[in-house]
Subunit: 509 residues, 2 copies
């Protein structure tokens, strides 16, 4: 067998023991809150049929889907014929070079016959490349019929439609699984990463939206965050603003510009809006929107006036008010709630409330987001099923907890005590002790005899094991074992019963 | 957007809420035991580099690896040239048909020119097909450089080599993740399934083997199994037997035949052995092996005599004895231990003890297995690292628990109480009640107002929610809420404090 250098695909990660404990801490905390609010876990397959996924994430997204080669027909007659006639058409004069990860050419097509390039040869080059792209895509769809999950939303929609007769609606599900995207890897962006979603479908009550805010609040507070903001907006308010000035398609330009008010001031915002094609009249109408400030209630009161002619806008205001009314009955922990008109994530997707969560303790993008959508399952033929959902950005939350040193001590999870022995006889003596520790549910290990005690101690240190029992001839004779606290360095001579009671005490801490 | 029929790839599964609770119950139980014995969790990426995986699972296994299409260069100049010259060579006279899932042809190659087939055309057919296969495989390796994890063992070996400088040896790791194999799906065999492995590398102590037996015993007993057998054998004993008769390559034939003693008797076994090329002399020598019976100690005593001339055999016996010696210090729960010379799983892989676990309560293949191997990481250039490992067959264990009705009541995990309200006002009244239930860590839901109580009750039933609180005008006036036990059907009028104390009581049960 040839020796292969050990490596992993770029953009993917191994998670070692400490990372796993920390990641599980995040997932377990979020899960416990999801469950408390009645959300149930499901899992869907890693592979979905390719046609389940394509066309759902825009052309850009489609390119980032990892496709799986068919296990048998991965070179069929169609591909052979297609490639053959392509090559016949262009002959040996044209070849394609390597592509970069993002699909752009690393080097241009090599046209062997012509040098330097003429306008005509460049045109032919482009024609060749376009045709190459076309058959490349066609070829991919001939030889791949499955792909890796790209998000949890489309598989959830597919799940709801397939299982609609078994499901009790409103269906509240959560799902924590990895997804894959063929993006160019960079710091904080991976090709395999976990999503952590909760959605409810089949209920239009705004209680759901209010409860999502409670879920964010409780989960993030439990994780130790003390200063974070849940921003809320409503698509209908944005629609109302667009109606004010008759420019519905430019709502994103508008929100992006407003968002810069703090940085570039009113003048800057107005300048940017003019450059995007808004008129002086528009600016006049928009000025109260741009300058909207104050408490959430003050903002809503101003919007009442600003949007008084827009049915959609007023509906959006009423929805936000209703969510706030629900929240008044629930006591939030640490979350601040902020109405933010610049929030416009996934604008084409969301139809009602929109959420985004930001920590104020660390410079970091959003650590969560979501909203209401009206037609999740239409793409699979089940119409008019309204839903709302949120997502936790688990990888970013990991980085935040790490930076704020909020991860609990990992020794809770790992081995509590290591028994070190000098030799075979001591090992034999130690075995029932090991068994009695484990019978007390104490995570315990015995280092097999034959290794110097110093190295055994090193193992305890490396593995963050907080206590060590040393057994030599003296200990066997007296029945009093050497019990060492690896953090403080102190050691005592104790009976096994005393050791167990100490360990049980420290377990409860 | 075109409407797509909701479906999933064959051999894959959705897991709904009840299945997830049950699957987590199995994983959590096994994990808790792994941790108690000092094993630490790791996770590796879903995708591995293709060359990390190929050549590790025999040719048969290589064919079952799911390959991932490169995200950019999935049709390159090499493929174009290869396919083009293939087509040029055979012209339009030859085409390939569809293949079955297992790679055999559904229909033969169509040779347009010749009918009926002649010996010559058949020969040409075969030549075409062989060549097609060759370029198909070459093409796959040109357009795919990543693949889905096929098991947890090779990624673990790769992990150990990549992270050898961070690891404290002996390294005890466990890993519970899905793997993918392009096998023909059938009952109980999936293309995506979970493996559940624990391995230790860097320690040759047989304490590890003894502890694996304890882990099986504790985990399966915790899951409720009361009658299961952990079979043990040793590769060196098998080697010793082969040395007795000088037929080392036929050890599998031998063990397969011996395994049938109960069914076909001594005569039958001897007949089968003769048909496999064993001689009468061999049979004479093997007879004591075939007839080996009695307690484990009795079997070992007989083997002492039978294998007295084989150094390897005696070493194997000594290893088994040492494992039994260790076990004498540990109290097993429900497991029976049986020395079984017919156990030969993964013979080319294991070098010392071999394990297999079978339940005696349900007809089912092995629900676990493992053993010691000498050179796990050699394929990645790290030599002489000994290891041992076991695996739990989680899917089969699921089926066993289901058949024996051993799954705990799922209501422990799901919503405990549903609040049903008649209208908007009752909903408002109910919100602080909902909040106070959740503050007590009681999983609680409020069914949004606007739906008939009967339908709300149906939701509680469908979701297996054990308690319901009904709030109407009377309840609001008296402060005594209707509290219904959905299983018994009884209902009482109770204050919220009384309800909470009842629910807390039932939670502790």
């Amino acid at each position: 067998m040839a020796i292969i250098k050990a490596s992993i695909p770029k953009g993917t990660r191994d998670f070692g023991p400490v990372e796993m404990i920390r990641r599980n801490h995040i997932y377990d905390t979020i899960k416990s809150v999801f469950k408390k609010f009645g959300y149930q876990e499901i899992q869907t397959p890693t592979m979905e049929n390719l046609d389940t996924l394509t066309g759902k994430y825009s052309d850009e997204g489609d390119k980032l889907i990892f496709k799986i080669l068919n296990s048998v027909d991965y070179l069929n007659q169609n591909v052979i014929d297609m490639v053959h006639s392509f090559k016949n058409k262009y002959g040996d004069d044209y070849k394609v070079g390597k592509f970069r990860d993002d699909g752009t050419e690393k080097r241009a097509i090599i046209d062997n016959t012509l040098e330097p390039p003429t306008p005509e040869s460049l045109k032919k080059n482009k024609e060749y490349l376009d045709e190459f792209r076309r058959i490349q895509n066609k070829c991919a769809s001939e030889i791949c019929s499955k792909a890796l999950r790209y998000d949890l939303t489309v598989p959830f929609a597919r799940y709801v439609v397939m299982h609609q007769n078994e499901i009790a609606f409103p269906f509240k599900r959560f799902q924590i699984q990895p997804v894959w995207r063929a993006e160019r890897p960079q710091k904080g962006r991976y090709r395999e990463f976990y999503q952590c979603d909760a959605d409810v479908v089949g209920s239009n009550s705004l209680l759901n939206e209010a409860e999502f805010i409670c879920i964010y609040d409780e989960a993030l507070s439990k994780l130790g965050l003390t200063d974070f903001t849940i921003k809320i907006n409503n698509r209908k308010i944005l629609t109302g603003i667009a109606e004010l000035i008759g420019k519905p398609s430019q709502i994103v330009d508008l929100t992006v510009a407003i968002d810069k008010l703090d940085k570039i001031g009113l003048e800057g915002v107005e300048k940017e809006l003019l450059s995007k094609g808004f008129t002086a009249d528009d600016l006049h109408t928009l000025k109260p929107v741009i300058l909207l400030a104050g408490s959430n209630e003050e903002k809503l009161a101003q919007l009442d006036t600003i949007l008084k002619t827009s049915e959609n806008g007023l509906k959006g205001i009423a929805e936000i008010r209703e969510v706030f009314d629900y929240l008044a009955s629930f006591k939030l922990n640490k979350a601040k709630i902020e109405l933010d008109l610049t929030l416009a994530r996934g604008l084409n997707y969301y139809t009602g409330c929109i959420f985004e969560v930001k920590t104020n303790e660390v410079a970091m993008g959003s650590i969560g987001g979501g909203g209401r959508y009206d037609d999740l399952t239409g793409m699979f033929g089940l119409q008019n099923l309204t839903g709302a959902g949120i997502s936790f950005g688990a990888d970013r939350i990991y980085d935040v907890l790490e930076e704020l040193k909020l991860f609990p001590n990992t020794t809770q999870e790992s081995t509590k005590v290591l028994i070190c022995v000098f030799g075979k006889e001591e090992e034999k003596y130690a075995l029932p002790i090991l068994a009695s520790l484990r019978a007390q549910n104490i995570h315990a290990e015995l280092y097999p005899f034959g290794t110097k005690i110093k190295k055994q101690m090193q193992y305890a240190n490396d593995k963050n094991i907080p206590y060590v029992i040393v057994i030599g001839g003296d200990e066997m004779q007296s029945g009093k074992l050497t019990f060492k606290n690896m953090q403080s360095g102190t050691q005592e001579s104790l009976s096994i019963a005393e050791i167990i009671s100490q360990l049980n005490l420290s377990q409860k801490k």
